[in-house]
């Protein structure tokens, strides 16, 4: 019984450490700001030579034209999956679905908008 509990406890600790979810703020900082900017205004350090300017996440007008599902798809499968720029890569191997859902809500917070 003690042995069983030990293995269960070990498994629980291991699971938490392997699957620990990052905050949307940290994921945004890590993967999004390089193009979308520290302030989310689409003016990240990478934009100089881009043929398509990254989306301004603070622009309520344009962001309200996208559904949560579309934003989720764009993050997970990349810009090309929603017929937008290939410069937006797919993050599906980097982020869990739950983390992407959190990011979508983070974007809604940044634009202070919902889909109209």
């Amino acid at each position: 019984m003690v042995t069983k509990l030990f293995w269960l406890a070990l498994f629980a600790v291991f699971s938490v450490s392997v699957h620990a979810k990052e905050t949307a703020e940290d994921n945004y900082k890590a993967y999004c700001t390089q193009c979308h900017g520290i302030e989310g205004n689409g003016k990240g350090i990478n934009v100089r030579d881009m043929s398509v300017v990254p989306r301004d996440h603070t622009d309520a007008k344009s962001m309200s034209g996208r559904s949560d599902e579309t934003l989720f798809k764009a993050i997970k499968e990349g810009g090309a999956s929603i017929s937008k720029s290939v410069l937006m890569p797919p993050w599906g191997s980097t982020l869990s679905d739950e983390e992407i859902e959190d990011l979508v809500q983070y974007l809604r917070m940044m634009c202070k908008c919902k889909m109209s």
Partner: protein, 226 residues
């Protein structure tokens, strides 16, 4: 401060360091030489230099020997760009005052450190899965892939003055990196570093081969390969 600089300089000036001693001491201050890779973003943000615990799977030894004697920046915005960026009048810009230059080693130390680094091969399993066939990709085709099809230029300089700044420059990649490593890393960056900033673009075997061939073409063009 001056004392700290002296200590660092002294630490790097000794040629009588025992084999492997420099790795365990000075290098380990900024590089992860034991693994595993960062498991959280907080740890990834704190990285001062690339992980070296799989250096023997990653780098070309002759490049290491050369670069360590005359180090030049490979990542324009530092190891984690987020720590080296500030807002400017036209948008975000790199804050050079926050970037740290790599110390230069003597030829003897560079040779010794490179030899030690090449022994670090915990990912032979990943390397063994890759086989690079001989081949080449026309310049125009490669450029199209980097620009239009794959979008590598968004984060990487694909020429000295063209591309993004958050990732390491690509036009010198094949000078620095073993071809099998490039293939494996393109195939799955997360297999090497769970918190890698590089996305997995789900490339086919054929396209991975083409990318490696094109990176090799780029690096042979005589641009600043160090």
């Amino acid at each position: 401060m001056m004392r700290m600089v002296m200590v660092v300089l002294l630490a790097f000036s000794g040629t009588a360091l025992a084999e492997g001693g420099m790795l365990q001491g000075s290098c380990a201050a900024c590089h992860n030489i034991t693994g595993p890779a960062a498991q959280t973003l907080k740890d990834a943000f704190a990285k001062k230099g690339p992980d070296l615990f799989y250096a023997g799977n990653k780098y070309r030894q002759e490049w290491l020997v050369s670069w360590l004697q005359k180090p030049a920046r490979i990542r324009p915005a530092g190891m984690f760009y987020g720590g080296h960026v500030k807002t400017g009048s036209k948008g975000d810009e790199i804050d050079p005052s926050t970037l740290i230059s790599h110390v230069a080693l003597s030829k003897a130390d560079a040779t010794s450190v490179a030899a030690e680094l090449m022994k670090l091969k915990p990912h032979n399993d990943l390397i063994a899965k890759e086989k690079i066939e001989p081949g080449s990709v026309p310049r125009q085709m490669g450029e199209m892939a980097f620009n239009k099809f794959l979008g590598c230029m968004a984060c990487h300089l694909i020429e000295p003055e063209y591309g993004g700044f958050s990732g390491p420059e690509l036009y010198t990649a094949a000078k620095r990196l073993q071809p099998e490593y490039m293939a494996s890393f393109i195939r799955s960056p997360q297999a090497w570093d769970r918190k890698s900033m590089m996305p997995n673009k789900q490339l086919s075997d054929g396209n991975i081969q083409k990318m490696v061939h094109y990176l090799e073409t780029l690096s042979k063009e005589g641009t600043n390969g160090n």
